[in-house]
Symmetry: C3
Subunit: 155 residues, 3 copies
């Protein structure tokens, strides 16, 4: 075994051990214009595939008329949130954005309001969540394919 | 010293050097239903214990009726924020969520509005903040124990 | 070549390979009180300089009257967002915060509403964005120098 062989072996260790990245893309095509999907199981699945024990997961919508949040999986609350968002960022005909031919000005505002991403902590190979925390994908302009990136980073 | 001994020594270096994670959990039990707590000192303390010089800190509420933000430590502003949140996401009797027996529908909406987490940059062993930035825990449904995770990641 | 020489060589690899951090500070001084600046090119430039292929970028305002978001680069929409923010978090004379001599209470609320930071995924040396995603700096109290930190982390 030459000195060079040792060096190569160690370099391989560097790739395997200290920091790993695992990226997955999900595609959602909702039946409705606005829809809210609990995607916690998909985030957990990506974490398992990554093999990462310590780190964090970025879950981020890749479109500008969708959001990602962490909150409760309770249907009544989801309906409350939907009504509340429509009140704070209502559909209107006269958004300036509609001069481009789009009709989804409110979808952009709703996305800004709830934010398009979350960072989830990972400890001992699990989502380090409190008892009721769930990751939701919030579609504000659906009925077409939209992507979400899940990037797991850690060791 | 055999070649194998060199390899083991190097592997240990891999654990110590490139990436560290330090996790701390805080518990808040506020006297009031809504309360805003400057937790910058606790975040700084976690950073010191981690020994991390370069990286970032995820500060994330583990409950779905609380928030974390970065803004000013000025009592008048805190009162303005509280009033503003109650206006945009008011307490109401008739949230659908209350059919579950809960009465905290507005607390969930307030949490969504301000977001439940922040990521703080770390440079040269310090929170890399501007002159007025402070980390706040925002309790929207208090008078019981609620947890916040601080996860420091870096080297 | 002694065994010690091998160890030193490997230690250097540890610094170079597994995790890199690159930090850049931008300063914006807008002509107007409220202004929205597409800073995607600056974020891409910081990523190139970092040489990082896999990881993420924290883009975070260092002031408490500014925001950072990811959304569309469409002037009509930007005007819609500005109008909408003024409606949800309006300028008022009577904010309690103004007793300090400040007049920017609404700027703080707008900052909370849109959030002061984003985390951008990096894959294969590029911002891993969907087709329309752009990073914006949102100035809510301008006409003076304000800083934004860009921290690239990865390998």
């Amino acid at each position: 075994m030459s000195i060079r062989a040792v060096v190569c072996f160690m370099t391989q260790q560097l790739y395997d051990r200290p920091m790993r990245f695992y990226t997955e893309y999900l595609t959602f095509k909702t039946a409705k214009h606005r829809e809210y999907i609990n995607m916690t199981a998909q985030v957990e699945s990506a974490l398992r595939k990554s093999g990462i024990q310590e780190g964090m997961i970025l879950v981020s919508a890749m479109h500008i008329t969708a959001g990602v949040w962490v909150n409760d999986a309770e249907d009544g609350l989801i309906a409350d949130i939907d009504e509340w968002l429509e009140k704070l960022a209502p559909f209107r005909q006269d958004y300036r954005h509609h001069r481009t031919g789009e009709t989804n000005g409110d979808s952009h505002l709703k996305s800004l309001l709830v934010h398009h991403e979350v960072v989830v902590p990972v400890t001992k190979g699990k989502l380090d969540f409190g008892p009721w925390q769930q990751v939701y994908y919030a579609e504000f302009d659906g009925q077409r394919s939209k992507r979400v990136i899940i990037k797991v980073m850690g060791e």
